[in-house]
């Protein structure tokens, strides 16, 4: 399926990309994270188990076991620090 994936803040800077279109053959947010992690380098480092990051699907926070719908807008970002 097709996904649109967004990165914010420190992750956007480290990955050097703000947004990309992806072909995705998995089912859950965790599968997507595993696919990105397999790119190695900063991807493996920032998305390693135990690293603090958040995932939003269609602009709502989700847990890693959430299923991704077709054409989802998925965002991966560090814990928020607003206010």
């Amino acid at each position: 399926m097709k996904l649109r994936v967004l990165y914010f803040a420190r992750l956007r800077e480290r990955f050097g990309v703000a947004e990309e279109a992806l072909d995705f053959s998995g089912a859950t947010a965790a599968d997507l994270v595993a696919q990105l992690r397999s790119r190695g380098d900063v991807w493996a480092e920032e998305l390693a188990a135990g690293k603090a990051f958040r995932v939003a699907v269609n602009q709502s926070l989700v847990a890693l076991d959430a299923t991704l719908p077709e054409h989802a807008e998925v965002a991966i970002f560090p814990p928020v620090t607003g206010g």
Binding site: F8, S60, A75, F77, P78, P79, V80, G83
Partner: protein, 151 residues
């Protein structure tokens, strides 16, 4: 209800005045202004830049105001969050809650701030004498949010 994300400065007095003007049923307005400080985590801070996730930010802020309205009887809520580059002393966020009684206005105002700190997609990057750095989320903010038994 008024929920805005903007780069411009806001005016606490004007916002609270707009809430109460022409009304005689409000007994209490609790408000909060968060400001950029000149130091954080042991370093001087010369400036900060607030990044956000357009689209999700507005959804998240609307959801947290709705959650507050479901928990307390509120007469009005105003929530303004700034983005972009800010200097020490600049106001960052404003929350104002009007109710009949002070207990619910105070509780809802603090709830919205605690919820915002852990749920709304804003990120701060600080400019310090040692260079730029992204602000880490604080465990104390998670603890503050946990007090409200958020889902």
């Amino acid at each position: 209800m008024k929920i805005v994300v903007q780069s411009e400065v806001f005016d606490l007095g004007a916002e609270v005045e707009a809430m109460r003007r022409g009304r005689t049923d409000i007994g209490a307005i609790a408000s909060f202004v968060g400001l950029a400080r000149d130091h954080n985590a042991g370093s001087g801070v010369q400036a900060m830049t607030l990044e956000h996730y357009p689209g999700m930010t507005e959804k998240a802020l609307a959801a947290l105001v709705e959650e507050a309205k479901s928990r307390w009887t509120l007469l009005d809520v105003t929530l303004i969050h700034r983005v972009g580059r800010l200097l020490p002393g600049d106001p960052i966020v404003l929350v104002a809650v009007a109710g009949q009684h002070r207990g619910e206005a105070f509780a809802a105002c603090e709830f919205i701030m605690d919820y915002l700190k852990t749920r709304a997609p804003f990120w701060k990057k600080e400019e310090t004498p040692e260079g730029e750095r992204w602000v880490d989320a604080r465990a104390s903010d998670d603890a503050a949010a946990a007090r409200w038994n958020l889902p």
